[in-house]
Amino acid sequence: MNRNHYNFDLNGLLKKVFFVDLIQGLFITFHYTFSKTITMKYPDEETWIPYKRFRGLHTLNKNKEGKELCVGCELCQKSCPTQCITVVPMQDTTGKGIADRVAYRWEINLLRCMFCGLCEDACPTEALKLGREYELAGTSMQRHLLTKEELLAPQAVPAEFEGGVIVKARLGTDETGIKVVPDMSVQKRWW
């Protein structure tokens, strides 16, 4: 090992004596002191709206007439590698679905889900989509077992919105816990 062995080289020696190597590095750090910041003030003032394809919390969708798209075909349950979806179909003639078969129970165990998106690829009617909700931490296990009713609720971010922006947000609390409420009117990109 020759880690303390330096060949004689005047230029190199002068650079060493005057700490040129360290000053060069410090120059970069110094330069960044005056550049634009790229971090965001999450969650107090800003939050991130993910891109359109984001794979977050599952959503069950309705068509334009407000009918449930899910026909209870159980294909999502079949395709899931971790078996976290339970679908129980039923006959329904009230017309709340697009066909006379709807899901009687549609449950997901988020504790097992790995957000791989295979269920979304499998769904033949595009009823099931992975949405943009990503703040999924909770204090009880029960909170992670979601049913059809919860997943049918409209999303905070409209599906057509392109996403990939930082928006203004407010941190609020309600009975379900802490919530970050985005305000879509003020948007910015970070690079």
Binding site: M1, V20, Q24, W191
Partner: protein, 403 residues
């Protein structure tokens, strides 16, 4: 006891103290995840460094035997979770080889682009964390900024930032979204300047040089004998890169160099990674230039689900889609091995098929697992602090080591 004597006398140290066994990790901040090293030490010098692995074992290979071929793709994300794309790629390429499926040109180009982006992001983290371990905290902040850009691109592409699951057997889960190419071009414009900055921060820095030069030396022969691959092998001067030597996808159409070091020390491995990032950047630029239009999924109904617009309009196609999702496809009997150049080295999948819808056996040749065995020869006789540099220079990821 013999090696203790020789190390002590080599260093001109006549006092032989009692040998101490030190457990480094599995919660040590500088051991990259759940690494556990059992160090036998003579004073400050290492007599033997023994990695103790298995803390993150999830039985990946066994899981694969109980899933359809297509269902195992998301699990491969969890191998080397810092570059999931290359894991996906290696697995789907092995399955495609098994069933003899050729994918469209455009899909090949997309696969190249994403795996090179993955390589950059993985090396950024490797170099950044290395700086962090040796006390150069500034670098990791800058490296993470660029990594964040890549993760941003990936989020746009496939909807996830860490576990991408973007590739599927026979193609991709989706085409490039609108605006991706432009954003990617912006990135490859910015990136070389940022690499220069990292170099300005570290490459000439006397502290960095002293901590890395001449530390963890491994000769080319030893590196080959130990089965090292990736930057750790090329640092010793062996120019072995699967992208160059047995080109897969469309790597033979790009002009890029394979950097190699000369001394096989930590500093060489650092320089190889820095240069590889520049080369990866060049490959992405060329791929974006050459990428053709066309479909991204193979037209092979027996293995690949039909396009979505056909599913919603054609009954026969819909029935076929149901069949394919719920029962998968039967792969021919036989066995294949297919490997790629992942950021950390050769990542290979060996699949044995018994002719059913699930693999009979999957063996994963994980680069970090093989590279990790060189911790001992590299750090023998060195100081304790050098072990940290050695580990960082090997860049092990424990999802892959423990599988």
């Amino acid at each position: 006891m013999e090696d203790v004597m020789s190390i002590a006398s080599n260093s001109g140290d006549d006092i032989i103290t009692k040998e101490v066994t030190l457990n480094m990790g599995p919660q040590h901040p500088s051991t990259h995840g759940v690494m556990h090293l059992i160090l036998r030490m003579q004073g400050e010098k290492i007599v033997k460094a023994e990695p103790d692995i298995g803390y993150l074992h999830r039985g990946m290979e066994k899981i694969a035997e109980n899933l359809l071929y297509s269902q195992f793709v998301p699990y491969t994300d969890r191998l080397d979770y810092l570059s999931s794309m290359t894991n996906n790629l290696s697995y789907v390429m092995a399955v495609e080889k098994l069933i003899g499926l050729e994918i469209p040109e455009r899909a090949k180009y997309i696969r190249v682009i994403v795996s090179e982006l993955s390589r950059i992001s993985s090396h950024l983290l490797a170099v950044g964390a290395w700086g962090l371990d040796l006390g150069a905290v500034t670098l990791v902040l800058y490296a993470f900024r660029e990594r964040e850009m890549i993760l941003d691109l990936f989020e746009m592409l496939c909807g996830a930032r860490l576990t991408y699951n973007y590739m599927k057997i026979g193609g991709m889960r989706g085409d490039l979204p609108p605006g991706f190419k432009e954003k990617c071009r912006d990135f490859i414009q910015i990136f070389p300047k940022r690499v220069d900055e990292y170099e300005q921060l570290l490459t000439g820095n006397r502290i960095w040089l002293q901590r890395n030069k001449g530390v963890g030396v491994i000769s080319a022969e030893d590196a080959v004998d130990l089965g090292l691959t990736g930057p750790s092998l090329r640092g010793s001067g062996v120019k072995w890169d699967i992208r160059k030597d047995t080109p897969y996808l469309v790597y033979d159409r790009f002009d890029f160099k394979v950097p190699a070091g000369g001394n096989g020390d930590c500093f060489d491995r650092y320089m190889v990674r820095i240069e590889e990032m520049r080369q990866a950047n060049k490959i992405i630029a060329q791929a974006l230039e050459q990428i053709p239009d066309g479909p991204v999924n193979a037209d092979a109904p027996e293995f690949v689900s039909p396009p979505r617009k056909d599913i919603t309009t054609n009954m026969e196609v819909l029935i076929h889609h149901f069949k394919l999702i719920s029962h998968g496809f039967k792969a021919p009997k036989g066995e294949v091995y297919s490997s790629i150049e992942a950021p950390k080295g050769e990542l290979g999948f060996y699949i044995v098929s018994d002719g059913s819808e699930m693999p009979f056996r999957v063996k994963i040749r994980a680069p970090s697992f093989v590279n990790l065995q060189s911790v001992d020869p590299m750090s023998r006789g060195a100081y304790f602090a050098d072990v940290v540099a050695v580990i960082s220079s090997l860049d092990p990821v424990f999802g892959e080591v423990d599988k």
